[in-house]
Amino acid sequence: MIDINAIRADFPILHQEVHPGKPLVFLDSAASSQKPTQVIEAMNAYYRQTHANVHRGIYALSEAATTAFEAARDKVQHFIHAAHREEIIFTTNTTGSMNLLVQTWGRANLGVGDTVILSQLEHHANLVPWQILAQEKGFTIEYIPITEQYILDLEAYQQMLNAGNVKAVSVAHVSNVLGTISPIAEIAHLAHQAGAIVIGDGAQSVPHMPVDVQALGVDFYAFSSHKMCGPTGIGVLYGKQHLLEAMPPWMGGGDMIRKVTFSGSTWNDLPYKFEAGTPAIAEGIGLGAAIDYLSNLGMNNLHTYEADLTEYAHERLIEVPGLTLYNPEPVMCGGVATFTLEGVHAHDLAQILDYEGVAVRAGHHCAMPLHRECLKVAATTRASFYLYTTRAEIDKLVEALYTAKTLLGGHSL
């Protein structure tokens, strides 16, 4: 069970007024979550007591730093149930993971006549890298459409697979805009039957629910530390060992080599082949502390808590006159509520909510084509929840929406 007061006490940032008399109501965790003291202190202690460059330093600090950093890799492995620690590649964030994958696996495997399937609800991180490579290599990108219930149209997906030549399917496990939780295991199964590999964008799933990459059957999976109580500056690419081994390296430099001569080089073993240069050491340790924190609470508990909040939020929000919700039913929806309010532009809405202390995100949420070409709106407002969010905060959001309506709602712009 989630003890919300104990949890909130762990997050120092939550206890402040953003404007005089307006306590912070932080509803933008999908963009980046807040960090508990345990995570902040782990990095603090690392810099005060243990820091040194890792790998091959023959002295006490360097060995301690290496042990701590590599322990974080083990924690990630167990957290997502990967088969081997070598399958955990540290990157900068989900975006870095996707670009690594596209630039190595993609560059080596995709060409004219091939198809990559994405979906209409993808974040730019799972669109733009593919588009850039497609320009160079000439393969085709297709997008699984979304239905009127804001879920992926799996029939259309099956037809795309049937058309043949599909080499890869890359989709968000949970949409950062719609909240849609997609049936990744099923998507992966169908893709494998068609001979394609499957990549999951786990940026919005790993922080919020138990994830087992082996049970899901994905070949690659990407996520960001900063959305799961961990620090900025680090992310993860999970990949199946035999696929990672067959891939060429991406960045060249220290640590990723076995042997360098003036005429050429050979590569180090996994995971180091993909980790060039001094790693994000403190950030790895911070991510490890975040995983400890989340694991102690239990990802199942957390997911249940958030699911309940989300249902409550949707219920409260649809009561607001003129509000349109862009989410599937709560049972298929991660911890977000995404909406427009008639007569109030999303940016004005966010601004006015901020005056009330309520922090939400307004815009296209890095999913511009979804907004313009599917939802047919330029911008939505998104409130997103996490383990420290309360029902009272959702009530404040609703209250602030009425304030905004009063101020601006009369003006249809």
Partner: protein, 130 residues
């Protein structure tokens, strides 16, 4: 605390002045802030001395971008076209008379960008430099 939503801003946003494109115009431009989706189209008519005699515009976006367009349109009527070319960020912020938060500066400046593009006779506003 609703510093940015002063009554005159809301009034301009709600009742935009010079709304509607001019059929007969000498200058015309349109642009958008792709990141927020705000759009604006502006037409200008000048007399034989290149004094702006009429402004017509249409747009869509947040209260700040629309109010700024409305206020700027009123402001430039009767002024020489050349003067419009000299308008800068500070001029707009002064015109609006409200504290604009960092994340809304682009909203406030869209109309300036488009009206300048029109004055320089660029069919599309110059590319969007932050």
């Amino acid at each position: 605390m609703m510093d940015m939503y002063q009554e005159n801003i809301l009034d301009h946003a709600q009742h935009p002045r010079n709304w509607g494109l001019l059929e007969a115009c000498h200058f015309h431009a349109s642009d958008e802030n792709p990141l927020c989706g705000d759009m604006l189209e502006v037409t200008l008519r000048v007399d034989e001395n290149d004094i702006i005699v009429a402004v017509g515009w249409e747009g869509q976006g947040c209260a700040i971008s629309q109010a700024a367009a409305s206020m700027l349109g009123e402001e430039v009527i009767g002024k020489p076209l050349e003067i419009v070319k000299d308008y800068d960020k500070e001029a707009i912020l002064e015109l609006l008379g409200i504290p604009i938060s960092m994340s809304r500066i682009k909203c406030a400046l869209l109309s300036l960008k488009v009206i300048k593009a029109a004055a320089y006779n660029l069919e599309n506003a110059a590319s969007d430099h932050d």
